[in-house]
Amino acid sequence: MLKNTLTEILYVLVGLVCLYSTVKIVRSKDHPSRWPTALFWFILFIVFTFSRVGMIWGDAKVKISDTVIGYLVIILAVLSALKLVKIGKFSESTIEFKKESAMKIGNKIFIPALSLGVVAFIVAQVWAKQLGTLIALGAAALVASILALAFTRGKVSDMVEDGSRLLEMIGPVSILPQVLAALGSVFAAAGVGKLIASGMSHVIPQGNILAGVIVYCSGMALFTMIMGNAFAAFAVITAGIGLPFVIAQGGNPVIVSALGLTAGYCGTLMTPMAANFNIVPTAILEIEDKRWGVIKNQVPVALVMLALHMVLMYLWAF
């Protein structure tokens, strides 16, 4: 109950950051793409704040229907496709100011930064059952904001401005993970996974353990790359390949399944479909190559890890 209420309030806060961006963009007359960009962030404000707003007081019926949200998502996609979502101007401090205040504040500036992780950890440990990790993140963000204001003696308006600057810099990419999850749902409803699993099971020679291990591990990686999500792949590929071609041949189910899932993670490292791990960070870290900037570094490691998964599964599970 409390968990649902707090989680929903957290989404309202996310929505408010989007709303701040919207208002600011509408006001800035020299914005390169004023109205479409404002519309983009306004839709996100609506979706985050109101889609399940009734959960705040425990009435799940007060919500925006999923169909309406679906159409809103399509509008977001169209705005993004037409390249109408752009970044405006921001008041950022100068390098000189940053260096000077870094010296003035000293190492105390790390306290609010570290509190993000530490407070999230403590809250998650103490109230794990009641609250879950999301609330822990939200509580940590709140504590870090207060500490940041206290130690820097900065203004609240600067803080909100900075938050929306980072958000607009990340831009439409910030919603990519959600859109991909939605695609995964459509794929699942359409039965794409079962089709692939049955197709792959035709290529494995019966009674060959090594072939089973290789196809299971690479199937997990490949299917994860397509879906962008190892969890979705695991159920399908383990039922379709892991059980009949590896476990049924005498493989220890504990070892086979544990390694099977992490073999899928090797695929996660190689796919732009896993946007929250591979694409969003390019925006967060301001990497120029938005598509492959992270992935190209991960591919060699992912391939080595995948090969090691096959070796370990073959030697350890049998």
Binding site: V47, I105, I109, A141, S145, D158, M159, P253
Partner: protein, 228 residues
């Protein structure tokens, strides 16, 4: 077979560098249509999944604090601090982060994240260490350090998290195997996940230190040339 058209659209879209969000939504709509789902159902599934996965975008709430700290020189301070440690290199810092992040993931401590740790702390430290050694870096090498930084968080997160008994992945495995009429204990799955957590530390560290060596070679030669 026609159902696979969505995957084809994604691949072609990525290769042609079309707008990613539009490609993904388009692939979903077309896959649904060719599979015989009604337009209304598809849009509803799309909207439902979007709302239910709002948690993926929750990192937005921590942006204001990080933004304000950056305004007051957080990254400059991190770079300054690291520049006083002579033995620090980009690769060593990234490796140390990989180790700490993996171990804390095994204990289900979410002490990490691209927004929470890499951008405000680890990246400025890595950059600071590299610039301290080699002076101004080429754009290409900066991009490489950023990419490896981002990768280190993913390595630790992916291969460390299943070492924890109540991790989402572990519970998923137990649940899926139960559906397949095989009973396994969560604690055994977590134990069987530990070797890979150890292996990624070795493989990841090797990658980060190799990049150190490459940088050292490249910029040392350059410095020698300047002297001659």
């Amino acid at each position: 077979m026609i159902k696979l058209i969505g995957i084809l659209i994604i691949v072609v879209g990525f290769v042609l560098k079309l707008d990613t969000i539009a490609v993904v939504v388009g692939a979903g709509l077309i896959t649904g249509l060719v599979s015989g789902m009604s337009w209304n159902d598809i849009v509803t599934i799309l909207g439902k999944a979007f709302v239910e996965n709002r948690y993926m975008t929750i990192f937005i709430v921590s942006l204001p604090a990080i933004g304000l700290l950056e305004r007051y020189g957080l990254r400059e301070r991190a770079a300054y601090l690291i520049s006083r440690i002579r033995s620090a290199t980009a690769g060593r810092i990234t490796s140390l982060y990989l180790v700490i992040r993996t171990i804390s993931a095994v204990f289900s401590v979410r002490l990490g994240g691209h927004v929470q740790f890499i951008r405000p702390l680890i990246l400025p430290m890595s950059m600071g260490a590299a610039e301290n050694r080699y002076g101004q870096l080429e754009k290409k090498d900066e991009e490489k350090i950023k990419g490896l930084n981002a990768a280190s968080d993913n390595y630790a997160n992916f291969f460390g998290q299943n070492g924890f008994v109540a991790a989402g992945g572990v519970l998923l495995i137990v649940g899926v195997l139960k559906e397949l009429k095989i009973t396994v204990e969560a604690v055994d799955i977590a134990t069987a996940s530990l070797p890979m957590a150890g292996i990624i530390l070795v493989v990841g560290t090797a990658q980060f230190l190799l990049n150190d060596r490459r940088l050292a070679k490249k910029y040392q030669i350059r410095q020698n040339e300047k002297k001659e």
